[in-house]
């Protein structure tokens, strides 16, 4: 069973000629089949956690360990992490002009699976996945994220999640900027992947809204660069009613 283990993870970022510590000792274990929600106020370091796990070069790891099934993730390049089974659905997916969605998906699937998918089954697989996400077939011929609406970008991220079948999926504010219909479609996509029982999900969000569609097993409150409280789904209800105030006004040390 795949397990992502994060131990005492410390991360800095360079900004304005100064080094700033963003993550101050994060501990978290995500097992295959589990869904963890990480909730926290803006600026608490949630996205830094997501991007550090994926290996974004902007962030410097200064301490701690991250392993996937015992393998040292921090030693791996970005593409190696993806091939090892980590997937990051980005909050702001990047435009890649000149590369069509279909070419991108196939190149990516080939890299992740270690061999090119058979063309006939692949075309069918992509078509069906797109239909489930209410994506028009013409989407495949557009350039990656170029001119996509916010909702299209997020659906495209979830399409990749469905096709690439990672061991651990990190969803960085996938719910932000979505209207209710789009949120439902995207959540259904995430749930289809979760229901396979083969993915551990780390759902990073500012709002509790998405948790009405995706039920977490564990909820963690993130503040000041670390997890300050962990609980079950009921913790999300508390946050819904009380907000993050208790954690941002010095309550974090409690």
């Amino acid at each position: 069973m795949a397990t992502l283990e994060i131990r005492d993870l410390r991360v800095t970022v360079e900004a304005d000629n100064a080094t700033k510590e963003i993550l101050k000792g994060v501990d978290l274990t995500v097992k295959q089949g589990e869904t963890h929600a990480i909730m926290g106020p803006n600026g608490s370091g949630k996205s830094t956690l997501a991007y550090s796990l994926a290996g974004h070069p902007k962030y410097t790891i200064t301490g701690g360990t991250v392993t996937l099934d015992g393998e040292d993730v921090l030693e791996m390049s970005v593409d190696e992490r993806a091939r090892a089974g980590l997937f990051l659905a980005m909050q702001y997916p990047v435009e890649v002009p000149g590369v069509s969605v279909s070419n991108f998906l196939r190149t990516s699937a080939t890299a992740i699976r270690g061999e090119a998918p058979k063309l006939r089954t692949w075309v069918k697989e992509v078509k069906e996945a797109m239909e489930r996400l209410n994506m028009d077939p013409s989407f495949a011929e557009r350039n990656v994220n170029e001119g996509f609406s916010g909702g299209e970008k997020k659906r495209h991220e979830i399409l990749q999640l469905e096709l690439l079948k990672p061991k651990v999926a990190i969803l960085d504010e996938t719910d932000s900027g979505l209207d209710v219909d789009a949120l439902r479609i995207v959540s259904e996509g995430v749930n289809r992947v979760r229901e396979t029982g083969e993915v551990g999900t780390l759902l990073i969000t500012h709002y509790t809204r998405i948790l009405r569609y995706i039920k977490p097993d564990h909820v963690h409150v993130f503040s000041g660069g670390r997890i300050v409280e962990s609980g079950g789904a009921e913790l999300a209800d508390k946050l819904e009613n009380e907000g993050y105030e208790a954690y941002t006004k010095g309550g974090a040390s409690a």
Partner: protein, 405 residues
């Protein structure tokens, strides 16, 4: 007659990240023209080099070009050495291939030199090549002109003439090392169809300057691919004018500018005749320190050219820091009675965020770069229609990419 449906537009977009330092994407639409295609030149067109002052570098037509790297082509000090280039022509049956003297009447019919180096080439060549495809002759194989640099200085002139309703593909392939100033005239008879592929696959030190003039007959179709990979400095002037109504020009270009290279393409489409079309699309990738690409796209719609339909576009993809693009589309319209006119220029950057995104999907860095560049060029490469050239370009693109990593 419809009014202009597409008003001239200028878009300047970029993908992700800040534009590379020193890039410019400028454009202008001159209507009541103070600065026009004609007035921006420092001298009127002429076949005589003496009619052009030696450029000092601040002239509009020279301001992007490093004159000191022209190896004397611009100031009269580059003297032909006799071992400049070797030219080999392979032509299918039915085609006439001649070498003629300066007095041959077919020389210079398609256009007049517009700058000092083009005039220098015209004034200095001793023999010209003339290739003729008789009327109604439809070739099934390309005419191939191999120009191989042997390390010296050379001036040249080539004429390609198609009779009425003739159809031909011409490949001009530049390789080796040379300092070359050479002009090419393409003359298309009524209803003729000519596709030209000019490949600049020079060695690193080569200098190549030239003016390519196409004169398009009534209802004739001219399709040009200018493909520039090599050389220390390449500066080409593809130019088009129409000899009758119904002419169509498609000007495609593809360049891959490496560290230290200067590659400059200066186009002019002169809509001097009613009811003609033109479509220009040039795409370039740049990588490495002091890679410098210049694209000037001038389209002139003269007052008499009613019913004109034209569009021009330049796209650049900057792969690394330290490269520079100057892209200047310019549309000059003297009549509103046209079908359409537009232009666009955009310089995008393959940046760390794009690389991260592709790598985060398992794609290794070198493959990610290849994916982006091949995707960027694909629509152009596929249109060439000469298999061995298409394959060579794809191989070349891969080689260029491997050189960076």
């Amino acid at each position: 007659m419809a009014e202009a449906q597409n008003s001239p537009t200028l878009e300047s977009t970029r993908a992700g990240g800040p534009p590379p330092l020193g890039s410019t994407t400028a454009g202008a639409v001159a209507v009541a023209a103070e600065s026009t295609v004609a007035t921006r030149m420092s001298a009127p067109p002429s076949f005589d080099v003496a009619d052009f002052p030696v450029p000092h570098g601040r002239e509009e037509e020279w301001r992007f070009t490093p004159l000191e790297r022209l190896r004397g082509l611009h100031d009269g000090t580059a003297v032909a050495t006799g071992d400049g280039v070797k030219v080999d022509v392979q032509a299918p049956e039915g085609v006439t291939v001649e070498t003629v003297g300066r007095d041959d009447a077919r020389i210079g019919k398609a256009g007049t030199p517009v700058d000092r180096v083009a005039a220098q080439a015209y004034s200095a060549f001793e023999k010209a090549g003339v290739i003729t495809v008789p009327k109604e002759t439809v070739l099934t194989e390309p005419i191939r002109i191999a120009v191989h640099g042997e390390g010296g200085v050379a001036y040249g002139h080539q004429v390609v003439e198609l009779g009425a309703f003739a159809e031909a593909v011409v490949v001009i392939d530049h390789t080796g090392d040379a300092v070359l100033a050479a002009n090419v005239d393409y003359i298309l008879g009524d209803g003729a169809k000519l596709t030209v592929v000019s490949v600049q696959d020079w060695d690193d030190k080569a200098v190549h300057v030239g003016q390519h003039n196409a004169l398009i007959g009534r209802d004739a179709t001219f399709k040009s691919f200018v493909v520039t990979f090599g050389g220390d400095l390449v500066r080409l002037h593809p130019r088009v004018a129409y000899a009758g109504t119904g002419g169509e020009a498609e000007l495609f270009g593809l360049y891959f500018t490496d560290a230290g290279q200067h590659q400059e393409h200066r186009l002019l489409v002169d809509h001097n005749t009613p009811h003609c079309k033109s479509n220009v699309m040039y795409k370039g990738a740049l990588q490495g320190d002091d890679a410098h690409a210049v694209w000037i796209g001038d389209v002139l719609i003269e007052a008499k050219a009613e019913g004109t339909d034209t569009y021009e576009m330049n796209r650049n993809l900057v792969l690394t820091d330290g490269a520079r693009v100057d892209s200047v589309p310019n549309l000059e319209i003297e009549t509103g009675e046209i079908v359409g006119a537009g232009h666009a220029s955009a310089t995008g950057r393959f940046d760390d965020e794009q690389l991260f995104y592709l790598m985060a999907r398992g794609i290794p860095a070198d493959e990610a770069r290849r994916l982006v560049v091949r995707g960027f060029f694909a629509e152009l490469v596929q249109q060439i229609g000469v298999d061995d050239i298409e394959e060579r370009l794809l191989v070349k693109i891969n080689e260029e990419l491997e050189a960076t990593v």
